[in-house]
Symmetry: C2
Subunit: 309 residues, 2 copies
């Protein structure tokens, strides 16, 4: 029936999903939402709002917000709460980077090619900027609505648990305590589960929850987020030893020098590659129940897990 | 009618409210609730839970939890949510002290006669312990229920806003930036409103909200918390210059030495005393609408505002 949109046949031969355009569009939307959610720089006390915005708009890839929105798309249609939760997760991620870079922690001067927060605003202000972004994340999440399947409580609790002392912060602690000490493969997986998988898992779960996803969809998203997180970390470890600083855009071999445990150091490079491949397979397999509706999620996973830098 | 309880006359001559017994009882209940709410020390990673508990159980006076419960009593009967919110507020207060004591901030070695968190656990762990307590506060608050007048959202939002970059953190920022600089009376009030009043106000408001207080009760509690907070700070400033270290139990004259703005330095001692008295009167006046039902609140205010150390 001409004039009534694409035929069934046309749909079967849809052009491949254009992740780059999708990401550009979503990132611009998330940036606008973050700009609306954070107090303006002019708001008193101005320094803290400058410091918060400095790190939030420091050129992060917005992978976690993208995962929130892609998961919402896989289960329905992203709504204002999907965007709020995307912002909340990005605030959590950014606070953890600011605190992680502090002299009392990793003592990093540069991040994404720019001076770290404490290098620009001083240590005290960077501590407070991190605290403020963490608090802001909960203010943003608190403004969400309950929906037919998930209550307001479920949403805030999901965010708090993923960020707390048994998950995200546990990863930082284990990382801090593990430096220079022999680490087993099980311990390394424990660190990766918390440092990376916890917040990636939370991102896709919150995306699904924001549109009232079904329980089996939430389970599939959890499975996906968990394995993407682990695979991402193993690949990060591999790239740290195989790529030059030039290709990586950050100091290569940094983990090894810092005495941090890595997969290649513990199980060797070949076994690390096998592990990464197995985890990647599991991540993609988790998306099967969505039967083609998780296009954006699939493309993001491919982008994250098939990178060379 | 003998044997049927106290007569009207007996009620009119009730023994004076025994704050000390009330506080002992409530503090023990809050301590038990905190113990249940925080992960056990044995929970992995054990160090962070030890660090969180070290500062939570370091002998704080539990004034904010007491205010939550006393406000709940003034408006109804404290329920499990009143206790949860009391714990949440105490977690926020404790995190802010841990971060405030860090070398990048006030650089304090001792608090309440004990080594500060970073002195015991190291700077990195103290940063993370503060982060974890802040996050825990929202997890605890997220577990509360909505009631007939206030939704789950109202409760979490109240906590987030009072702790955020426009309130509690704004006070820390202004304090940090004001050190050694000339400060006006208006600026000093701005700092006190945020550093102290914000969380005291939030405490009594959450107490009232937990038992579904009426709008005019919430307004009275807000007014009370605001003025108690300001009066408390002015009195703190006065004691810092008039009392010996021995009486205070902490270093006297510390604020002056640190170049921090104080009321006596800006308006003189006599005017500071007049201001403190006026604020105290306003705090007590705010309780009038409760017509005798705010006994515990009144007693706590008296204890806080008529102290000599």
């Amino acid at each position: 029936m001409p004039g009534r949109g694409p035929t069934y046949n046309a749909l079967r031969h849809m052009p491949p999903f254009d992740l780059s355009s999708w990401l550009n569009l979503r990132t611009a939307e998330v940036d606008a939402a973050l700009d609306r959610s954070l107090p303006k720089e002019s708001k008193k006390p101005s320094t803290i709002h400058k410091a918060m915005r400095y790190s939030i708009f420091a050129g992060g890839k917005r992978m976690r917000p993208a995962l929130v929105l892609a998961a919402a798309e896989a289960c329905g249609r992203p709504n204002p709460d999907s965007y709020s939760l995307a912002c909340a997760v990005e605030c959590i991620h950014t606070y953890s980077l600011i605190h992680d870079d502090l002299p009392g922690m990793d003592n990093d001067d540069m991040r994404r090619g720019k001076p770290t927060n404490h290098k620009v605003f001083g240590e005290g202000m960077a501590i407070l900027a991190g605290d403020a972004l963490l608090t802001q994340a909960f203010e943003i999440a608190a403004l969400c609505e309950s929906n037919s399947r998930y209550s307001h409580r479920d949403l805030v609790l999901e965010l708090a648990r993923a960020s707390g002392s048994l998950q995200l912060i546990a990863g930082q602690v284990a990382d801090l305590e593990g430096e220079g000490k022999p680490t087993s493969r099980a311990q390394l997986r424990y660190i990766h589960e918390r440092k990376t998988s916890a917040l990636l898992c939370c991102s896709v779960r919150l995306g699904g929850m924001s549109v009232g996803c079904k329980p089996q969809q939430l389970e599939a998203l959890t499975d996906f987020g968990y394995h993407v997180g682990l695979a991402f970390q193993v690949i990060d470890d591999i790239l740290d030893v195989t790529q030059s600083s030039e290709v990586l855009g950050k100091t290569a071999g940094k983990d090894v020098k810092a005495g941090k445990a890595t997969y290649p150091a513990i199980v060797g490079l070949d076994e690390s590659r096998r592990i990464a491949a197995a985890l990647t397979r599991k991540a993609f397999a988790a998306l099967k129940p969505f039967r083609g509706k998780a296009t954006a999620l699939e493309a993001i996973a491919e982008y994250l897990l098939k990178r060379d830098h």
